[in-house]
Every structure is written in C-alpha cells, then in structure tokens.
Symmetry: none
Subunit: 233 residues, 4 copies
DNA sequence: AATGAATGAGCGTTCATTCAT
DNA sequence: AATGAATGAACGCTCATTCAT
C-alpha cells in the first residue's frame, strides 16, 4: 500500500504487470496528450494550483485515465520536468554537428543553449519553480540530467583551453557562466526583454564572457569566423 | 470567499478600524514572530506544503492569531518575500557608505549583493519559487522593489561609464550580469559550492565581468586599489 | 508522510503535539458522539459502505472534525471494535463480585458473557465482520484483548477443576465452548431467536456444557444453588 | 445504474437472450476460472479490497469478460459464497452413504461437517465476513441454503431421538451446537490450533455434546462402535 | 488579545462498469 | 468471444478560514 519514494517513471499499466499495449503508438499518443495538457497547466498556474481535473480537461480526457499513464500527480510533474531537461540535452549537441573548430564549437553550443531557453522560457521557469515539489530521488535524477547538459559545455570549454585559446582555471565554473546567463534570460525575461532583444542579449553577453576567457592566441585565432560577428545569429 | 485582487498589506486590525494598539511595540514583536515562523517553514517545505498551523506552531502562537496580523496565507507569503527583497535593498547601500571612487563603489556594491545572496540562499530560492503564487498586483510590487535594488547597481555602473572607466552600451543589462551571477550562486549552489568557494566565485566572476567592461582608462585607474586584489574579500 | 502501520490510538491533536484541551470533558463528549455515530453506521451498513460523511452526519458534526479525534477511518474502526471488546471485559467481572463458590462463579461468568453478547448482538457481528480490515498490529491488539476476556472464564474453569468439581483436560478449550456458543447466539441469531428464547438458549446450552464437564463431586456440590435452576436468569 | 434488488444468478449471456453456447463446456470452464480467481482474492484480501481487475488477473482473463459471466461484482460475491455453502451441502451427505445406525450417522455427519470447515477455513471466514455486503434477497437465499445443510444434521438428531438414543427437547437447537462448534474451529482457529489439534478438537467437542444428549439407552447402544473411539478419525 | 474547535469546499485517487474494436 | 481503454462518480482526507469563548 505505501509507495516507497523511488523515482518511478513507468506508467502504471506496465508496472502492475498488465500486458503491453496492442498499440504502442496509441499509447504514446495519449501520453503526449496528457504531457501537453499538464505542461500547459503547470506553466500557466503552477503545479499546486493545477488540479488533475484541469489537466484532464486540458488534455481532453477524463481524469481517471491519467492514472493509467502516470503513477500520480507528482510522477507527472517529474516526467514533464524531465522532458524539458531532455530537450536541452537533445538540442545542444545538434548545434555542434560538423563543427570542428574549438572556439566555434563553444560559440555554437552556447548559442544553442541560449536559444533552447528562449524557445521554452515558461517551461524553464516552471522547472525552476516546481522541482522542489519532487521527492529527493527524483530531484537527484534531474540534477544528474542537468549536469549532463552542462558537461557538453564543459567539454567545449576544455577543448578551447587545451588548444590554448581560453585561459580559465575552472572549466566547469566557466560553463556555469553560460548556463547562468542563459537561464537569466528566462528568469528575468519580464525585464530583460524590455531592454534588449534576444539577439543582442546573446551577442553582448557571450562577447563579455569570451572577452574574459580568451588568450591572445584565441583572440587572433577567432578573427574572421566569429559567429557573433555575422548579423543574423 | 471572493478575494479582490488588491495587494493588501495592512494587517486586519488596522483595516477594520480597530483602535490603535496600546503597544505598537508588542504588535511589531508578534508580527516578527509570525514572520520568522513563516519564513522558516516556507524555506524548508515550500509555500503550499506549509499549513497555517505549521506556521502558528513555529511561531509559538495559535493559528487564529495569524489572521489578526495578516489577511490570509497569501498575504503572509507576500510580506515574507517583500521582507527578503527589502533586506537586499538595505544591505547594498550600507556597503557604499563613505566610498567615493566610482569603480570601488561598483565593486563594493557588487560584492555586497553577492554577499547578501550568500547569506540568505534558501530565502532567495524560496522567493524565486513562490512568487508565482501571488496575485498580479503583488507580483508587480515585488518587481518594482527588485528594480529599485538593481537601480543601485545601475547607478554605480553609469557613474563608471560617465567617468570613462567602463564602456558598456547598456548599464541596466550590465547590472543584470551582476544580479544574475549573484542569484546563480544561490540557484546553483548545490553544485557550485562543490567546485568553488564563495570568495573564489565572487572574485573570478566579478573579474570576468569587469574585464569585459573596463576601458583602458578604467583599467589603469583601478591599479592599486582593486577590491578584488586584497586577500580577504 | 507515509504513516507506519502502528496501532495508533491517540487522537491526532495529541499526537501532533498540540496542547491538551482546555476541557477534557468536552473532548470526551465529542469523541463519544463520533463513536456512537460510527458504531451505528458500521453496524447498519458495514465499514466499507459507511463513508466518513455518513458518520459525520450521524454524529451531527462536519466530516473534517472527525480527523481531530481519530487518525483516519481505519483508526476509528479500530477504536470502535476495541470499545466493544472492552465492554465484554468490563461486564463479565462485574457479575463475579462477591461470589465465592467456584461453580457459581463459573455459571455467573458464563451467563454474564452470554448476556453481554445478547445486549450487543449487532456490535458483535460487526466486530466479527470488520476486524479483517484492520492492519496486523491492530488485529494483534484485538486478539490480546479477546484473550484477556477469555482468561476470566479460563480462571473460573480452572478453579472448578482444582476444586475437583470439573474434569476437563483443557481449561482453555472449555472456555472456548462458552465463548463460541455465546457468540453463536449472535452470529446465528437470525435463526436461533425463532426457535428458542435467550433464556432457554442460555440455560440449555450451559446445562449441556456443564453436564459434560462436571465430576460426581461437582454434581452433588451443585445441588441446591444451581443458577440455572431458578426461573429468572 | 439503478440496481433492482433481485438476486440475479444467471450470467448475462443467458439473460440477454443470446444464442446458446457452442460449447457449454467452455462456458463452465471460464466460469470456474473466474470463480477460482475471485475466491482466492476474496479470501486473501476481502471483498472490498479486491478489484475486478485483481480477479481478472488472478483468473488470467480480461476484466471485461467477467461481465459476460456475472452481472456485477456483487453477483460474483454471491455466487462464490453460494458455492461454498453448496460444498457443505455436498460433502455431508457423502459421509452418510451406506450408514444405517442412527448414532453412527449422527457422528459421521458431524465429523463430516467439522471436516468440511477445516478444509476450507478461510472460505468459511470469508463467507461469514462478506455476506453482509449482499442484498437482502441474496442473503435470504444463502440462509435457506444454510438451513438445508443444517437440516441434514437435524434429521440425524431427530432419528436418534426417535430411536430413544438422544433426549433433547429441540433437535434444531442441538444441530446448532454442532454447527456452532464446527464454525468456531474456523472462526477462532488463530487460537484454537495452538491449543488442540483438529482431531482432538473434534473428538472432545463431539464427546461433550453427545454426553449431554445421550440417553442411557443411547449410551449402551453406542458401545463398541463409537466413531470417536477409534484412533484415526 | 488570544485560542483552537469547527467548518466544508476541494483535492488526488480508485475502480466498477461500459463499449469500440 | 474477448479485450482493455476510457469513464466519472464517489471516496478519504486536508486545511484555510471563521468565530464563540
């Protein structure tokens, strides 16, 4: 009866030993439906103010059905936040495909990170706000996921350091400068968007950060193919 | 039942036209008691998970009494967050007293800002998380309050720009670099504290940001009295 | 959050560290009110078919209040059954006050036992039916309580055996003959009451059981003061 | 939605005028499957705690299919209890086949009754517990069924009385002594099995009861072929 | 000023039952 | 014949808020 506080991910159907669905397709579709409904509600009203019925309504289904796809409301919250973080994890590497030059890779990764935040500002805010409501095991998973994303930035920075382009004593700290300023675009968007455009914010902030990290070698290496020079980002 | 969406601040006693307190002193004391209890609970468990009874118990009073000092639970939340922001507003100016040099003022203000965050990390996290639960009017007030604090930084930066020490096209954006990296120390403290000390974080991050803003004039002016050079911050 | 499956008895108020009630009297009164309402509902409709709202209504209070006196519905069930068993425990000893003769004591105890069942037939049925719904710890407590009551009968029987009046190899088994025939009056009352009166049932059944246990000494000792001889029981 | 309070027994297929089954055999097989699953669940967890899905899973079929064999969950409960009572009805007569002597018949019937309870203790407990959940019409049917079984004992006793072996004013009451003590073996098994074996319980209890009923004629008639004398029951 | 008993709306969750496939 | 996805009413329980004391 008592649920141990493990970070359950599987929908109940599976858990309870039911057979797999006839149609995995239909199953995933429904899941997405609920996901979208839940995300929309959570973003708008927050986790606690959203009732299961709100979600059901937003998803166009009955409330009971949700429990065939998610263990409980908290599980749904977890899944939704996880999905947001995984989107980060998916988008950043995509931006690096085919890019060889270390500094360009760093710039591309950073811009991608800024962009993914910009595209999902309210989802990002929501993830910041509501993670606290999860149980410790789930939070640990989210943190791990976040560190994975950050690691991609850390790797880019370390490559620049190894190539002699960046001089920064702590690559992970440096990665947090990117992460932090990206998130800041979301967290303080209510004000920032009134004083700079997304492009300007990205350009100026990245320039500032790179300025502080570049060696002379890096600075001269960069000339001619700085991603931040070209007009459209 | 129906809540009008005014950002009520006054305790009910006043509102209802009751007589003034025999002892304003006693009144403030009680208020503080409730404040402290509420903040402690909110930080630990979050707003929604905290019940009025939790707060009453933490404050050592009865639950009913809370309603003589605050209109409702949300009002209490509002006051508590307001108090946190006001602490920022109080501490930063204190650090500037007697300092004349623009760059030193900027550094002192920034360090003060970092420090106030560091001293109240969980309160800061809490304010970030729970502001969403307030009603629009209350949120507007908080934003105004936040802009006031930021304005102090903006002013410092603008003074540096005017003196020819900083070259930065947008002083408010620059102030956000301070604000967001300071907040980041709180928001990502779970990870950052494992890779840098508060002092190192502050020193390195401020150095980075200044590096990108200083003019040559500023750079030479700074020599000899850079707050970030002396060992203890 | 997760409640461990201990057999809680105390009302929540006390448990949660609240201060004791101003008026213990009022508290007990309310508790009794809920008790009576719950027992009435449980007897009539069974535990599962009874909703908390049914009980609240029967008790003339609001549903929420129940949770200030009982931990949950199951706790209420437990308390109610416990109360029933304790009534057995109270009534049987009363019947023995001042009686010295072993056989008379045995008869008096048995009659008392039969009587207490007869007076609370539906409560007895209810206890039989619903104990299964309790958690193991609570069931253990009930079993202990039941054994305490039985022990009084065992003692009476053993005294008779020691005095040479009864010859029965197993006093506890013999006590169960009393207990089960008494319970049978409740369990099969729907039929038994159509073929014998309570008095006749008691008289005939006890006579039968004693017949099988009495020694010749016991039989002659009994003459002249057999409780089962006098007309009114 | 509105349930008419008839004691429906027939599976829906029949009711709705569907064609007869290709294979009555298959039909009965399925029915048994569901029966077994339901009984297993009901005994272990009780009626209310068992969900239709539990039963479906235990029976290895889908939940929907149950409704082609039973009207609703209550109907299934009814059938299962009915089946338990019918097992009593089947087993007791079997024990009497070929036996002529009245007292021996009585003994054989009684032992058979004790035995059938012993073999299905948890089913017996379950029937006691859950009958309350049925509707009045269904309960009436169960009572009738129970009286039928009892009647076999009554007949045996009456035969003994008619033959002058037993002196007991009320044969049905006497039959209840058997029934009651047999059921007691189930109801109080948690304790009784710790103080006597099934054989000892049966032997001692039956001896006790017979002692009280036998006439001198009966007593001398019994000599030499008392079923309770031989070692193995 | 202070208490805490009392309320009752509202929540998350379950599950018997239906029905399209 | 058989499935299991879908429904939605109903439950146990919580807690902000009120108010008699």
């Amino acid at each position: 009866m008592a649920r141990t506080s493990t970070a359950r991910t599987e929908p109940r159907r599976r858990v309870r030993g039911g057979k797999p669905h006839k149609s995995q397709r239909k199953f995933e579709q429904r899941r997405q439906q609920i996901f979208s409904g839940a995300l929309a509600c959570f973003e708008r009203k927050g986790y606690h103010e959203t009732s299961i019925n709100d979600i059901a309504e937003a998803a166009g289904i009955s409330s009971g059905l949700i429990y065939q796809y998610f263990n409980d409301k908290r599980d749904l919250l977890f899944q939704v936040i996880l999905e947001i973080l995984e989107a980060y994890n998916r988008d950043v590497p995509k931006a690096l495909v085919g890019i060889k030059d270390p500094i360009t890779r760093f710039q591309a990764a950073s811009i991608a990170y800024y962009r993914v935040i910009d595209h999902r500002i309210s989802a990002t805010l929501f993830a910041y706000r509501e993670s606290k409501s999860l149980d410790p095991d789930q939070i640990k998973i989210l943190k791990t996921k976040e560190l994975q994303t950050n690691q991609m930035l850390v790797d880019c920075i370390q490559d620049c350091v190894n190539a002699g382009y960046f001089a920064t004593p702590n690559a992970e700290l440096a990665s947090y400068w990117i992460v932090t300023t990206a998130h800041a675009w979301g967290l303080k968007n209510w004000r920032l968007r009134k004083i700079v455009s997304f492009e300007d914010y990205t350009r100026q902030t990245l320039n500032l950060l790179m300025n502080g990290m570049l060696t002379n070698l890096g600075r001269s290496h960069l000339m001619g193919h700085d991603l931040l020079d070209g007009r459209p980002l």
